[in-house]
């Protein structure tokens, strides 16, 4: 469903990504790991239109989306959660998700009250339910705990009905308990869409990923199932620097 071909990003003399070719299936859960500076964020930035690749293609269901602006890419079905929480703190939890949900419906009616759009409200509530935040629908987003805010991030991304969900370190700063909840959450929603997840927490990676791609200095070092990656001597060398 998603395929990058020879994707490269160069900043002056620095190669952030070098000829990266990845293929992700329709309902696959793929983890991207690698040491600092390996190019994981750069890859995400290309996929979500924040960064224009220097060369290469990004094919979403056969259509090249490389270089498209973020809003067009969102319309085509790629959503992203960020490392630093990006929610609207002064809006309620439900409102945060509703705003994302209504991006999929276009209407010129400026005079109709937003609550009249029943289908959007229902979708927003359903999304909140999926991430376990329905009970907190009317709480101000700023008042949620850190873990709940990170899950709200995921809900906002989910509300845009993506085909591909890019999660950028979703468990950063979470306690062990919150991490467990988030792992469950991701597992629940992974049935109907493709998920790309960048993580440093190996427990999360090992539990969730069906396949893992290892990046190192902008290149793909290895790809395979978690078991294969764990045994891969080159990966061990890079991570343990032996």
């Amino acid at each position: 469903m998603l395929r990058t071909e020879d994707l490269s990003v160069r900043f002056g003399g620095l190669s952030a990504l070098s000829s990266v070719t990845i293929e992700v299936g329709r309902a696959e859960l793929r983890a991207i790991i690698g040491p600092n500076g390996a190019g994981k964020s750069t890859l995400f930035n290309c996929l979500t239109g924040v960064l224009r690749p220097t060369s290469g293609r990004i094919l979403l269901d056969g259509v090249d989306i490389a270089g498209l602006p973020p809003d067009r890419i969102s319309q085509r079905g790629i959503a992203r959660s960020y490392q630093i929480t990006n929610i609207l703190p002064n809006a309620t939890t439900l409102e945060n998700v509703r705003i994302a949900a209504q991006s999929r419906k276009h209407s010129w009616s400026m005079l109709t009250h937003h609550r009249a759009f029943r289908d959007i409200m229902e979708k927003a509530e359903a999304t909140l339910d999926a991430v376990g935040l329905l009970a907190k629908a009317d709480d101000l987003a700023a008042n949620l705990s850190h873990g709940e805010q990170r899950n709200l991030e995921i809900a906002i991304a989910l509300a845009t009905e993506p085909r591909l969900l890019c999660l950028d370190e979703p468990t950063a700063g979470m306690s062990a308990a919150e991490t467990r909840d988030t792992i469950e959450l991701i597992r629940r929603v992974s049935k109907s869409l493709a998920i790309l997840i960048v993580e440093h927490d190996m427990q999360v990676v090992m539990e969730l990923a069906q396949r893992i791609t290892v990046l190192h200095y902008g290149e793909i070092l290895a790809e395979g199932t978690p078991a294969e990656i764990q045994r891969n001597p080159r990966v061990l060398e890079v991570y343990l620097k032996t």
Partner: protein, 243 residues
């Protein structure tokens, strides 16, 4: 493991640190003895750098204490801690790019109460240890190579005549040849009786130079052992640094 006989030089007691709501350090406790080299290992994002920053007063813990030679130093401003004898070498070196090598060193040298003669002696000592810096003393810091900048960052901290240096990933991004030089520099610091808290991801280097090693994961210390008892291939190393 039995506690070292001497009183700890730096003692970190159950600190919790947040960035906003993000709970980065979830109860970290460790200690470094005088003149001791202690390693702090763990993957990216587990909180190693934040631990150093909390000790250095760059980040305020929400809970817990930090002590230097038994005295509470939690919440003191960084410039005060530098004068008390804590040196800090951050992850991206962060030398003053527009200042010359000499001026970079002088920022730590020009302290109150240090006689001119001693300043000169200190400068000479550092130039002896790092001849490259002597050669480039009038060049702006930004023109130095990565390895040279790393040496300058460490030399600059040495100008404070610190009791302990907090070293954050000194070998990151360096060529293998420079990595062995860093080992050598750490040994030099050891000879000068400067304690080191070494944050690293390079396991063999850390095990080779440290006396004790802490392993961190998700904001806490998970394992603690004497370096001599560990090898790079051990299961515990795999667990906290590998995949």
């Amino acid at each position: 493991m039995s506690a070292p006989a001497a009183e700890a030089l730096v003692e970190v007691e159950a600190i919790h640190t947040h960035y906003g709501k993000s709970h980065i350090l979830d109860g970290v406790s460790l200690r470094v003895g005088p003149g001791e080299v202690v390693g702090l290992l763990g993957r990216n994002g587990v909180g190693k750098s934040t631990t150093l920053k909390t000790i250095m007063g760059l980040v305020r813990p929400s809970q817990g204490q930090v002590r230097l030679e038994g005295e509470l130093i939690t919440g003191l401003p960084p410039h005060h801690l530098a004068r008390l004898g804590i040196g800090y070498v951050p992850e991206d070196r962060r030398i003053f790019r527009l200042l010359t090598v000499m001026e970079n060193l002088r920022t730590g040298l020009d302290r109150a109460g240090v006689a001119e003669a001693r300043k000169q002696a200190l400068l000479q000592k550092v130039y002896d240890y790092f001849p490259v810096l002597a050669e480039r003393r009038s060049q702006p810091g930004g023109t130095l190579s990565g390895g040279e900048q790393q040496m300058l960052a460490i030399a600059r901290a040495m100008m404070l005549e610190p009791k302990i240096i907090l070293l954050d990933e000194p070998t990151e991004g360096l060529m293998p040849r420079m990595v062995s030089q860093i080992s050598e520099i750490i040994r030099v610091l050891r000879r000068e009786h400067v304690a080191i808290l070494l944050v690293e991801q390079n396991v063999p280097l850390t095990l080779a130079v440290s006396e004790r090693v802490y392993f961190m994961e998700k904001g806490t210390i998970r394992y603690h052992a004497a370096a001599a008892e560990l090898h790079a291939g051990d299961a515990v190393v795999q667990q906290y640094l590998g995949i």
